[in-house]
Every structure is written in C-alpha cells, then in structure tokens.
Amino acid sequence: MSLVGAATRPPRRRPGRLGIRNGRFALAYLSPALLIFLVFTIGPAFFVLYISVFDWNLLNTSMSHFVGAGNYRKLAGSSDFWKSIEESAYFVGATVAGSTIFGLGIALLLSSRGLVRRIVRLAVLTPYFTPLVATSIVWVWIFNPQFGLLDSLLRLLHISTVGWLQSTTWAMPALIVYTLWHDLGFTVIIFLAGLATVSPELREAARVDGARYWHEVRDVVLPQLTQTTLFVIVITTIGSLQAFTQIYTMTQGGPLSATTTTGYLLYEESFVFYHTGFGAAIAVVLFLVIALFTLLQLRLTRRPA
C-alpha cells in the first residue's frame, strides 16, 4: 500500500534559492494588504473576543471589569437572544429557500436565448445593484398603510389592508419579500452560470428518449446543478445571517422585536444600549455560526463535481 502510494505520489522537492526568493518577494508585495487586513479585520476580531469576557465600559475602559464567561452565561439565559435566534432562523430559512427556488426557476426560464429574455434577465439582476438603504426606503413607502402602493391595490380589490411593517405577523414576511426582490438577481446569475455547464448532449439525449421538460429538468439538469445549488444555499445563508441594512431602515427590529435577528440584536446591544461586552459575546457566537457555514462552503467548493 505504502509502495503504491510512494510510486504514485509526486516526489517532494525542496524549494530552491529561486523559490525562497520568490516567496520573500510575494510576502513583500502582499504585506501592505496583509497589514491592513491585520489592523482592520483580524486585530479587531481578537479585540472583540477580549471585550466579550469583560463588563466593558466603552467610555472609560479603566472602569471595565473582568467577568470571564459571564456575558456568555447571560446570553444563554437571555430570552431576547433566543428570540433573535428564532427570528434569524425564520429570516434565513425563508430567504434561502426563496432565493434557491425562485432563483433556479427564473434561471431555467431565462436560460435560453432571445431579446425579451435578455431584457428580463437584466430586470431581475438590476435590483441587486441598487443601494440597500435607498431601495429599503422605497419599500417602506410601498408598505405604508395609509399611502402605500400595496394597500392602495388591496383597497381597490376590496381586500382588508394590513400595517405591513407595524404588524408582528407581517413585518418579517415584508422584510423577506424586500430581501428576495433585492438579492434574487445574484442567485439567478449563479444558476445561469451553472446551467451553462450542463451537458447539452445529455439534455438532448433525454429529449430524444421522450422525456418531457419537467423530467429533463428533474433527472438531467438538477443532478448536474448540485454543486451550484449547494453553493447558492451556503452563500445566501451567510448573507442572510449578516443582513442588517434593510432591518435597520425598514423596521428597526420592530414591531415588538419581531424582526430583531441576531445580527440586529448585536447592533442594538452594542450601539444603542452600549452593553459592549454583552454585544461582543453575541458577535463571537454569530462569528462562530458564520465561520461554520464558511468552512462548509469551502469544503463543498473543493469537492470534485
């Protein structure tokens, strides 16, 4: 076994002088970017970890005191935190499912050539390039209970209206609808790229064998899109866990914390109520969850198709 392994494994080569010199050059060229990354990303990340074990006084750090795992224990017993986990699961579940299903569906509809489809493709993609704050405000007005487009349409149809962003039942679906509208273009593009790699011969063979469109999609296209679909799921999960701007602009976590996701709770505790140590503990937990998904993504993208 070991002999076979030795025979197939390429021989290990010690780096020559040129290789070492190239490595040093590479490091020298990378060092400005690395330094910036270290100072503005890695350093603060470790500092957040440090703060999370203190009852941190932001205004006078000498008044901070070490609490060990105190903030984490408080987090575990905090009903606000667990509610935010529920809201995050609701938001992430709906946006990931919506992005994947609608993204794939729209990509399938738009995958063939034609001017109209190209225009529709552009229309679907455009919201993704619009600023979140500006379009969130537009949607706040669409959802306005007295003067909004949506409720005006409902009134025209003699359907009872809803205070979309004021209702604990409807605020989260309203946020999800906005997020899907904004982000769907990205997943459509990913799926379109994935569809471009699907073997046309296999599809044609299926058609020759009498497969209907749905069977062709189910039995030929979808299996070849597994990697793409997994990538979309992981990347939209990470994006949804980090969602903040639309929540801040449209609902500010309300009503009654119905849209307070863990990411928004982190902001609220750290920058509204200035419970900095507690906020840092939330940040660490959120970081671990996102890191887990990132590792998953890395593993999936490295796996051969």
Partner: protein, 428 residues
C-alpha cells in the same frame, strides 16, 4: 548619483528649518489663541448657516478664541462619534448631548460639572438665571444636584392642524385631551382621520413615544420617581388606553417616517402632534393647500405635560483649563438673549430664555406659534437624566407597539415595559 547625494543634505537642512519654523509658528499661535472644537448635528437646512454665523460673531467678539465646528449629519451619528471619540481618548472640547447621554458621560467621568463656571466670575447673574424657562433650567441638572449641561437647541410639542377641515366641520381646536378625543372622532369620516403617529421602536423611539409621554404627564403620571422608572402608573395605563380608544375608532393611524406630517400635508388628517422645530417641514408638506395653524398641546388634569426636546451642551473633561474657560464663554454667548433669539428665528427652535422675547416681538407677530411653544417650556419635562432612560423609553415604544399595532392590553404592556426598564435601572 553623486549629484543627487549632494542635493540630499541641503534638502534635509531646508526641510528641518521649515518644520522648526512651522512648529514655532503654531506654538506662537497657541500662546495667543485658544482653539475649541464643538461636535454638533446642526448640519441641515437653515441650522448650519445660522450656527456658522453665530460662531463667527463670537470669534469676532473674542479674538483669542477659535471655534471649530464638527458637524455630524444627525443625532444618531453624533452620539456614535461622541462615544467613539471618548473611547479613543480624543473627545472634542464641547458637544451637543441629550440628558441621558450626559448622564452616561458623567458616570464615566468624561464630562465636567459646570457650577464653577455658571456661578463663577464669568458666570451669569441671578436675573439672567431667573429669565431661563423653568423647564429649560431644570433640565441642566443631573440627579447629583450639579449643573452638567448648558441649554442650546430646545423645542417642545405643539399641534399643527388643518384649520379649514375643523371650520368645515364646525369644530374648534380642542383645549383638553377629553375634547380632543371627541373632536378627533367627529373628524374621522369620508376616508379622513384625526392623526397619524409613529410609535417608534425599542432602538429608535419616535415622536409618538414622546406625545404619549406628554399625555402621561398631563394625566398626572410620572416617568421616573426616586431615580427609578415609573412606566406602569395608573395615569400611564389610562393614557395608553386613551390612544388605543382613538385607534379603535379609526381616528388614530400608525405609520413611520413622520406619518403625521405626511397625512396632514395630504389633507387626510386634521392634526399633527409634533415639535415646534418641525414647523418648516410641516409647512413644506402642507404647501399652501389649506390654512395650517398651530395650537398648544391639549391639557389634562395636570396641565399640558409637554415633553422638552432638543439638546444641551457639555464640556469634556479631557480639555485644558483654557479650553474649558473658552468653551464656557462660547456656550454662554449662544444662550444670551440676542443670540438665542436669532437662533430661534432662523431655525424654528425656541429661545432658551424669556429675555429673548422682546427682541423677537416682530417675528412673533408673524409667527405666533413661537410664543405658544416657548411658554410651554416653563412646564415642559425633559428626558430623565439617567443613562438607563435609553432602555426605558425604548420599552415605552415597545408597549405602544404592543397595544396600538397589535391589540395588546395597556396594563400588561406597561407592566412588561416597567419590568425591563427597572432591570436596566438596576444595572441588569
């Protein structure tokens, strides 16, 4: 190469000389002048040019003092910048601050008490002190009994109303909350309603939150007693029930993004309960479509119960003695009758002292609402000066959402709010 080397030495000598001269120049300047920095959020509309003008007038009158204004786009950013600058150990000399911000800064020893300046050699006289509106003066203290803030841009609530709508219905502007409810319900017909309100959220209380708190005071309730929140008083429950009743009758609608202004401007609602500083914006929303008038807030058994709005100025403890003295001169200057009158006329904020009213006679003749609102400053209540009030007022907004948006019970919603506010007050 040698030629280049020959140029390096003289170059270094010249550069060193320039640096030395520059340093000498700045030292000389520092010896004769004091530069103070003022972090503020008066950066929009007519506020910026008005503050710029007052500052340049001050600098002309005080040649030894330079004031650098650090303008921030809004109060949210202002607070974050202040907090960040304190955390970084480089705060400005002075800054605008709400009462609860000041309480947090004082707890962290980031600001200094002002009693020594107010009652000192360059302080104010007893007559000047008594001319400040009572509500404004009371608002300068923290619970330790010391003056920590100095008044700047103050406002309170008034009622903007569609005078044509009321006249058409044969109704007069209500003077009490009882009358207001009756009139509001009578005006709710043909797709119109009385008032739109933003309840605010836990992290961002809004106008509606403070209107409710005003009604609580008018009904004889309190927000705080003995250093602890009192959100679930009988008056509080009654006030929330009062709004719930209006909502049930369709007279009160809930919205976001200044819904009162939008609905009044669109001619759909009769009233907008908002701060006097919003006058130019309400006027813009109405756009001359109907006759818009301004009235004082209705009263309850405990009077008007208005909520004081706007900020004060604080001096940060990192500043030097000379900077503090210069800052005090500037703050005092801004609050003097002539300057506060100019500020009020230019921006719509209120003069902080009664002594400004004679100067504003001509202006008040054309803008009578200014006097109405200014007089309310006598009794208006400022935000309680406790750092935990941020949580408490957020909980009030939550209780309003529970009742007005989601049909909750006022007593239960306020009991929950009180429990959480109390936990925050107890350091939880």
């Amino acid at each position: 190469m040698h030629r280049h080397r020959a140029l390096v030495l003289p170059g270094l000598v010249v550069a060193a000389a320039v640096v030395t001269l520059a340093a000498y120049g700045s030292t000389t300047k520092r010896d004769s002048t004091v530069t103070i920095t003022f972090m503020e959020a008066m950066s929009s509309g007519k506020q910026k040019p008005a503050l710029d003008l007052l500052t340049s007038r001050f600098e002309r009158a005080n040649p030894g003092i330079t004031v650098n204004l650090i303008a921030e786009p809004n109060y949210g950013v202002l607070q974050q910048k202040e907090q960040a600058s304190i955390a970084a150990g480089a705060p400005p000399t002075i800054a605008q601050a709400y009462e609860n911000w000041a309480a947090g800064y004082a707890d962290a020893q980031a600001i200094i008490p002002l009693d020594g300046y107010v009652h000192g050699k360059s302080g104010i006289t007893a007559a000047e002190q008594s001319a400040f509106w009572k509500g404004v003066w009371k608002d300068l203290y923290l619970p330790d009994g010391k003056i920590w803030m100095w008044p700047f841009n103050k406002s309170d609530y008034v009622v903007y109303y569609n005078a044509d709508m009321l006249q058409k219905a044969g109704l007069a502007m209500p003077k009490t909350w009882v009358q207001y409810a009756t009139v509001a319900k009578q005006l709710t017909k043909n797709g119109n309603w009385a008032e739109s309100m933003d309840t605010g959220t836990l992290s961002a209380p809004a106008n509606g939150t403070y209107v409710y708190l005003s009604i609580v005071r008018a009904f004889g309730g309190t927000w705080v007693a003995n250093g602890k929140p009192t959100l679930d008083t009988t008056a509080g429950i009654k006030a929330l029930g009062y709004l719930a009743d209006l909502k049930k009758a369709g007279a009160l609608q809930i919205g976001t993004n200044y819904p009162g202004q939008t609905a009044l401007g669109a001619g759909r609602s009769a009233f907008d309960l908002s701060t006097v500083a919003g006058y130019p914006y309400v006027l813009g929303a109405v756009g001359g479509k109907f006759s818009m008038k301004v009235a004082p807030m209705p009263s309850g058994r405990n009077g008007q119960g208005n909520s004081l709005q706007g900020t004060n100025i604080v001096i940060f403890s990192k500043s030097s003695t000379a900077e503090r003295a210069a800052a005090w001169e500037y703050m005092k200057f801004l609050s003097e009758p002539r300057q506060t009158a100019y500020w009020a006329e230019a921006t719509g904020y209120l003069p902080v002292t009664r002594a400004a009213l004679p100067i504003m006679k001509g202006y008040i003749a054309t803008h009578p609402y200014q006097q109405i609102a200014a007089q309310s400053l006598q009794t208006a209540g400022g935000s309680p000066p406790y750092a935990w009030w941020t949580t408490a007022v957020g909980q009030v907004a939550q209780a309003m959402q529970a009742v007005l948006d989601n049909g909750g019970d006022p007593a239960h919603a306020l009991a929950t709010a009180q429990q959480k506010a109390l936990a925050a007050a107890n350091g939880g």
